[in-house]
């Protein structure tokens, strides 16, 4: 005997959906506030007035059109990498190699970008992004294959690959791809990428480039992949329970490798976009730990594209504001890492909490036999 569920009207459905979103945002927001509080304490420690510092932070974020543009510019690589990581995490793979994948992607993308092939802009940009995607994707897929086929711990392999990638880029920027090889004084870098490969600015008066569209498009695509394709379904199944997936006939190895490929590919696009849109030439250490921050972004964003976008903007704001804080209030910008770490800790803890109370609440509404089975 089953009761039919009364059909829910669509305004109710939208409200429920929004409520879920707000609920998901609550923890990260609270975490940020706590993080800012701890940051303030640290600033007191070194004799800086936190209010002044946070004022500078705010100015750096919302002080004007230009500042908002910078926030978005910083958010772009974070969002792209975060999207990739969220897919990998949903598939159960701890891809800590975002950083290396960004570097490798940037290397390939820059190379394409430098070439003067006389291509129209759209084609050149697309080609460069594609090169970045492939390079980052293969770099990650390798680690994914090692993990799926040989059970080699992907945390260690991806981190080692990070260092290898960074040194590889260093080699190329100091060597074969170096601009001005004889100017020993300046920091080695590649020549600037061709005009035809540069991402155009899209907001007058700011430095916001077309990469933002790439990021938003990527978010839509990843959303579609995760929730509306059978590949996304398989990736989630593998992430939740690889044994069940295997018995159901899924090819777990290929699912993992493909998920990692897309994950690394997005990081590669992030690296390429950063060069084509902002820095215009590749040099050592061009990425300030974006790959690691993106892990926090995926987590805080609940591994969901919308969450990743919001978290990316949040952390981008922190980074943009931090530069201003350093310039105006003398607070070393690395305090942002501290705030980020606090956010990570609090969100990680709150996830468990939320699951626990959620589960308890749900359990209390179930049939007695089920609880009995759980406690026998």
């Amino acid at each position: 005997m089953m009761q039919e569920n009364p059909k829910k009207s669509w305004p109710v459905k939208i409200l429920q959906w929004l409520a879920g979103g707000v609920d998901a945002l609550l923890a990260p927001l609270a975490a940020v506030l706590v993080g800012l509080g701890i940051g303030a304490a640290l600033m007191q420690l070194i004799g800086v007035n936190p209010m002044k510092a946070y004022e500078a932070l705010w100015m750096g974020v919302a002080g004007g059109k230009y500042q908002v543009g910078i926030v978005l510019v910083k958010a772009i690589p974070l969002i792209l990498t975060g999207l990739g990581l969220s897919l990998a995490f949903r598939c159960g793979v701890f891809n800590i190699g975002g950083e290396g994948q960004i570097y490798i992607g940037a290397l390939a993308g820059t190379w394409v970008g430098i070439q003067e092939w006389g291509l129209p802009q759209t084609a050149h940009i697309t080609l460069a992004l594609l090169a970045g995607f492939l390079a980052g994707g293969l770099w990650a897929a390798f680690a994914g294959y090692l993990r799926a086929r040989f059970q080699i711990n992907e945390i260690i392999s991806t981190i080692l690959l990070n260092y290898i990638a960074i040194y590889l880029v260093s080699y190329f920027t100091h060597g074969p791809m170096r601009d001005n090889p004889n100017a020993a004084a300046s920091l080695p870098h590649t020549p600037e990428v061709a005009l035809s490969s540069r991402l155009p600015l899209v907001w007058q008066g700011t430095r916001l480039h077309a990469g933002i569209f790439v990021a938003l498009l990527a978010a839509a695509v990843i959303y579609f992949i995760i929730f509306h394709t059978s590949f996304g379904y398989k990736a989630r199944a593998v992430g939740f329970s690889a044994p069940a997936a295997r018995y159901a006939g899924m090819r777990v190895v290929w699912v993992v490798v493909l998920a990692m490929f897309i994950s690394g590919g997005l990081a590669g696009i992030a690296g390429t976009a950063e060069i084509l849109g902002v820095q215009r030439r590749l040099r050592d250490l061009f990425s300030p730990g974006t790959g690691y921050t993106a892990i926090a972004i995926a987590l805080v964003g609940g591994n969901h594209p919308i969450g990743v976008i919001l978290a990316g903007i949040l952390f981008g704001a922190l980074e943009a504001g931090a530069n201003n804080m350093e310039a105006l209030a003398g607070v070393p910008s690395t305090i942002v890492s501290v705030i980020q770490a606090v956010v990570i800790f609090l969100v990680a803890v709150s996830v468990v909490w939320r699951n626990r109370s959620l589960r308890r609440w749900l359990a209390s509404r179930l049939r007695p036999a089920e609880e009995a089975a759980a406690h026998e």
């Binding site: 089953m2 009761q3 509306h228 059978s230 989630r236 199944a237 329970s241 159901a248």
Partner: protein, 515 residues
Amino acid sequence: MGGERSVPLLELKHITKVFGDLKANDQIDLDVQRGEIHALLGENGAGKTTLMNILYGLYHPDGGEIFLRGELTKIHSPRDAIRQHIGMIHQHFMLVPTFSVVENVVLGLPVEREPLLDLRTAARRLSELSAQYGLQIDPNALVGSLPVGVQQRVEILKALYRGADLLVLDEPTAVLSPLEVESFFQVLRQLVQQGLSIIFISHKLDEVLHISDRITVLRRGKKVGTLPRSEATNRKLAEMMVGREVFLDLQRPPLQAGDVVLDVQQLSSKSENGIQSLKVIQFTVQAGEVLGIAGVDGNGQQQLAEALAGLHHTVGGSICVQGVDLTNRPPEDFIRRGVCYVLADRQTTGLVLDFNVDENLILKRCDRQPFARRGVLNLGGIREYGQKVIHEYDIRVEDGRTPVRQLSGGNQQKVILAREIEDGPKLLILMHPTRGLDIGATEYVRQRVLEQRARGVAVLLVSTELDEILALSDRVAVMFRGEIMGIVPGNADQLERISHMMLGESLETMTGINP
């Protein structure tokens, strides 16, 4: 036999334990005399383990009192229980597989020259104990390498080493073959002779009737009654357990077998440490027939099931399904040929617990029509299908979008069954399909099996419950150490042969006939 009629060793008075809305134990009274074997009988979910967990200090009662040796006492933790000379042997052993027997016995106990471990003295004391109670073990053996029956002895010795004189055993025969059960019972009688008292939790009527002095039946958290063995019968106990008249025989319609669906020839494989795990396995299963595979858990059944799923590499022989050789092919090939599985481990391999019911129902068809077209999921179609199946298979759940984790064991099994049956199998493989399910769910599963058999599906049933095997199977094969000891008709009169085969005697030597 029954001890002195003075103060009972243990008295539980009005014990109550509540979890949320559920009264797991409701005003339960129990008394255990010195030197008695007292059985605690009931279905899954009746409250037996909860009650004993309270006795062992794992839970605190919400109401009621415990009297041990005549004195009111509180038991705050297992350590407390041990100090009061209560020992418990859980259904899932608390033994660290990578430790030796001595290390396991000594774990957590204070030693003389703390913190130095003196394993030699401990081993000596352990050997003395083992001789005293007739429980042979090798103190330095690695527990993980010991057969399950021996591991159980280690658990008992652990309790004795700590001075227990009241032993609580939770479903101890679940892992033993019938003959091992008999020697286990002898051990119990010996322990009782040495002055121990025993509480024996079980859901197996026959065993309980065989060994206990008195039997207490629990149902849905309440005590139904306590009977001395002389007054108890199978039927009476079953009625007390379930609360209604229970027909213990399932009617199996006559066999109408068709073509051979599964043909396993000389199948062999190696296990991880190089020892052969499957040895020259040979059998067939015809359409419309049920072949039962009996045997104590751990004798190669898992490997056989995995080989038939494409997940266990074989080095010799062949597996043919409907004439097609599928040896060592990947799982998807087996699935495509109409092989479906209902596995032992619902929660790890059968279901994705964090998916909802709808999603689990399409686990094997997530990239096929009508659930997906060209890689894109048809979410509406999936939902509709889910609703249809939930209705047809009477899965008790509010909505197809409920995470499967929240379903009861029986309903989870229904989801798995529904998924496999809806696939239209030619060969259905079931492993321990009713493990952990209450009587209602068990009946449901067995009926479905017979239904599929009537529809002409070839069924391979692996189970440790002999009554289940005999009720459902047309023929019974017994596995021991990776070999098939023999195949006999599925009638109750074959029980003794089957028991012997479960312990390693081959049918040939018993009957002189080549199977």
